[in-house]
Symmetry: C2
């Protein structure tokens, strides 16, 4: 079954399938690539010539607004797909993807991706599932955000991803929650004082 309600999502089916295309079919339009922490995998506002599937590591997907604020859409884990929206809709990238840990990806040529989606039924299904999972994830997340305090949002986040505070920088967490770093710190302290957090 799909796992949409965890913070760092994974999609092992898609990862396995992509790995097979790369390893067994030796498809030259699917290449491996590595990125160091902090490196941009995909910049915002550019033409997107590849679709990516994460093989290893954690990346953040964020959107920089005109007023300079960054909003983190998601953290991507293994098997997560990105670049597909832009390739399908033929638009420039609206998000920036950046490696948090060391990241390995499968990089799929734009043209090949489109072709394979329309000819390979199984691949088509995997992509559709990935899209519906994204929608479901975004819907729940936005609704929860709007309807709850930042304390509840933080608790939910930690519940979904216990290593949160050790793996992700405070600023990134704040950008994900849509609050300032100051507010995040206050919230954490409040929780600690009430022994709801170590």
């Amino acid at each position: 079954m799909s796992r949409t309600l965890i913070m760092i999502r994974v999609n092992l089916e898609l990862l396995t399938y992509t790995a097979r295309i790369h390893d067994k079919e030796q498809e030259p339009d699917v290449r491996e690539q590595k990125f160091s922490p902090g490196e941009q995998i995909l910049p915002q506002g550019k033409r997107v010539s590849h679709v990516y599937v994460i093989k290893k590591g954690i990346a953040k997907c964020y959107l920089s607004e005109d007023n300079g604020k960054d909003f983190i859409q998601e953290f991507f884990g293994e098997g997560e797909l990105f670049g597909e929206i832009e390739v399908i809709n033929d638009t420039f990238s609206f998000c920036c993807i950046e490696a948090i840990t060391e990241v390995e990806v499968y990089r799929i040529e734009r043209k090949y991706f489109k072709e394979r989606v329309s000819t390979d039924t199984r691949f088509n299904q995997l992509i559709i599932k990935s899209l519906t999972n994204k929608i479901s994830y975004k819907a729940h997340r936005h609704a929860y955000h709007q309807s709850h305090t930042s304390e509840e949002n933080l608790l939910r986040l930690i519940g979904m991803f216990p290593q949160l505070l050790s793996k992700i920088s405070k600023q990134d967490i704040a950008n994900y929650l849509g609050i300032t770093l100051r507010s995040l710190n206050r919230t954490i302290n409040d929780l600690k004082n009430r022994n709801l957090l170590s």
Copy 2:
């Protein structure tokens, strides 16, 4: 091209295509149905046995949170698709769809929808486009929301949909913006006092 950045979105390609399946193919698994303002088209938390395409009218898609607050995900216009996420992921409905104006829909049988998606290339493409548009819409919307004041959010909304204040109830607008009715009223007054709004 896709039109993701307006508030009430439409998808005429999908509407036309669905209409053809209904009118020309006389497909019995695609039926027309009418709803009066306020009627629920799809309740939250139930098994979804149909996928819907809006033929006429405006509907709201909202998610009720455990604390009783409603969050409006989108307003659906002509050609917009819903129920597809649940049918594809085989989950219960996480949103409630309710008619705002008089609404006419094409109601597609769950089984038929799945079959057609996997056999009809053109239909498959239309569904994928619809999914990617939803994602793009949600991504931009959430990012803008988190990064801007409610005044800016309201102005953006009115810019995208000028008849907003006359067509949609204040409570719905507030639920869409994720603020209280009180705050919405204050924001509107402030804008009027500064002649930024009639």
